[in-house]
């Protein structure tokens, strides 16, 4: 393959894509939307925090009756309560707006509910009555038990630390699962972002009737490979632009945006799962790209191509219907079929690789299969492009394409 021409194709295809206003509108739309969401979350988080601070300093005026004898009057008083002196009229007074709230603690909390009556303060603020009533019961009970340890045990407020072993070595748990799963995420992002462009890239030569001009100066393999490389670069650029607000948010505004505080340093990057994940990603990318380029070469217009494109994309998502089986029962027949069927193999094998159920032999078979089918798909794409792209306004039948080879 002529490197000069390959470089020229890559540069032309990449530059003309990123020079388009439409590309930047589409690419920047997502980070801008994310940024807007972040701003909203930030603002709402700040106001929620101030509201919560304000609520902390407020006390709730209420009266109560206690048939259980469980409630500690001191605790109730600290939360704004007073013993009701006229229980018979308390509910009527609440209705009339003369009393803010009235709680009736029953004789048996195990059998009967605590009755809570209060003046309406809106859906969200009304929850305060319920929260305060419960808090009085919990704090009073803790006071009676007198042991923080027993209270924690009863409430289940304690942590566990688990270590599991595989082959005599400490297995890493989720920390080892996440890094290889990143290849799966990358696979989806790249294919979803670029699939339409893959279709359009070969359709464009056909729709513009430029194929003959280009094929007399350039080998079709160089053209197709150049287009794929430039698409990959475009996808990488888009991924960086998409990821940047999330990274910035995580690094600088983690607390304000309520982003969970993952300790990334605990992630475990194991050599073999990472290598297998990378190879599955590349093999899967080549296979899907080859197929999509082939579709673009055969179909006369983007509209017709999109009808065939749908089922191919669907095959990428089918493994997620059985994701629980992939994780919990990787030996089942359906998981085995999905692992080795070329179009479902990348996703299924990447999932199994991350969860540690893809053994070395299976991994080697799937990787070999993806690369072989991927290269075959690319060769098919080149062949179909050679013939399909000069059937300018017609759909190329595979029979005709292969007859032309003879």
């Amino acid at each position: 393959m002529d490197r000069h021409n390959l470089g020229t194709v890559v540069a032309f295809e990449f530059t003309r894509t990123v020079k388009k206003r439409r590309f930047w509108i589409a690419t920047l739309a997502i980070p801008i939307l994310l940024a807007l969401v972040f701003v909203l979350v930030f603002t709402s988080s700040s106001s929620t925090q101030s509201l919560s601070e304000a609520q902390k300093s407020q006390t709730l005026d209420f009266t109560y009756t206690d048939a259980s004898s469980l409630i500690d009057p001191a605790i109730a008083k600290a939360l704004g309560g007073a013993v009701e002196k006229d229980p018979g009229t308390a509910v009527e007074r609440v209705k009339a707006g003369k009393l803010n709230a009235y709680f009736s603690f029953p004789a048996s909390l195990a059998k009967d509910p605590v009755l809570v009556y209060g003046a309406d303060q809106g859906i969200f603020k009304n929850g305060t009555y319920d929260a305060v009533a419960k808090q009085i019961v919990v704090l009073s009970a803790q006071e009676k038990v007198g042991s923080p340890q027993l209270v924690a045990a009863v409430q289940g407020n304690f942590n566990t630390q688990t270590e599991t072993f595989k082959g005599g070595v400490l297995s890493g748990g989720l920390q080892t699962v996440i890094p290889p799963l990143l290849f799966l995420v990358l696979f989806y992002v790249v294919i979803i972002l670029l699939a339409n462009q893959m279709l359009a890239s070969t359709l464009e030569e056909k729709e513009n009737r430029v194929t003959e001009m280009i094929l007399t100066t350039l080998n079709p393999t160089t053209l197709v490979v150049g287009k794929i490389i430039s698409l990959f670069m475009v996808g990488a650029l888009q991924s960086i632009v998409f990821a940047s607000p999330m990274l910035l948010g995580y690094v600088f505004f983690r607390d304000q945006l309520a982003i969970p505080n993952f300790d990334l340093s605990k992630l475990s990057f194991q050599f073999w799962p990472m290598l297998i994940g990378a190879l599955l990603l590349i093999g899967g990318f080549i296979l899907f790209t080859g197929v999509l380029v082939s579709i673009g070469a055969v179909m006369p217009t983007a509209k017709e191509a999109s009808m065939v494109f749908g089922p191919v994309m669907l095959m990428m998502f089918i493994p997620f219907y059985i994701v629980t089986m992939v994780v919990s029962d990787p030996g089942s027949v359906i998981v085995q079929i999905f692992t080795f069927f070329p179009f479902t193999a990348p996703v299924t094998a990447m999932l199994r690789n991350a969860f540690g159920s893809l053994n070395g032999v299976s991994a080697a078979i799937v990787i070999a299969e993806l690369f072989i089918f991927g290269v075959l798909a690319l060769r098919l794409a080149v062949h179909l492009f050679r013939y399909g792209s000069i059937e300018y306004s017609r759909k190329l039948s595979l029979r005709t394409a292969f007859a032309k080879r003879s």
Partner: protein
Amino acid sequence: MQFGEKKVIDGLSFDVARGETFGFLGSNGSGKTTTIRALLGIYRPTSGTLNINGQVFGDGFGARLGYLPEERGLYKKESVLDVMSYFGRLKGLSRNEAQKFSREYLDRVDLADKAGQRVDKLSGGEQQKIQLGVTIMNEPELLILDEPTKGFDPVNRRLLMDIIEDSKRAGATVMMVTHQMEEVERLCDRIILLKDGKSEAYGTIDEVQNQFGGRTIKLKYSGRVPDSPHYQVTLRETNYAELALDESVDEAQVLHDLVTSGVVVRGFVASKRSLDDIFIQVYGENAAAPLALGVK
């Protein structure tokens, strides 16, 4: 060359000499475009090759070739200069050389102010000029032009011919597909006529005209032109007729026959048969009648 069971080009072989203009003629569907595509490697031929200076045409020859296909097309959403530069780079020019050539060419064809415009904003004729520029920008040794004047007005047709002439003067060999027989007679040194993928005639224009029994009489007259075993009336209008002569008859004999039969002859021009006539004979619906003359 065959597509499945169907043989599209059959036993076709011809030479184009360095520096000549070669006409590649044929009716629609006769196999011209398929032949060119097979020659250029766009289709893989069942057998046969294109040899340039004794070497088989391959990937490396793209830079020495200029091809203007019948199906015109460029990257429509890109600027004129970007498209020209891209093709220039693919044809082996440096970025600067490609841009320099593009600007000079655009200046020559009065499109200098359109360099930054998108191709689809140009008129059809302007796009054709750009495509011709792309075709010749590597100063090709071999120019293959498929219907080069299609869609051009007379002024731009002249401009196009000038540009092709310039390429010829620079040493290019030109092979052109056209249905414009006057262009062929004016420009081509040799021609080939293709029918159903086979050569029907091949040689200089004189040789082809001779091959098809090439004598016609253009007659202006009064009266009635009688039927005769010496000629066939191929065109009859008011006071004008064209007569195709039998090979064994000379013009004087025909003139004598006409005068003695009472025709008042006002004009009598003997010439070889035009390529138009030959084309109609080979491809026309009534091809059987001229063939009955036994010229083939």
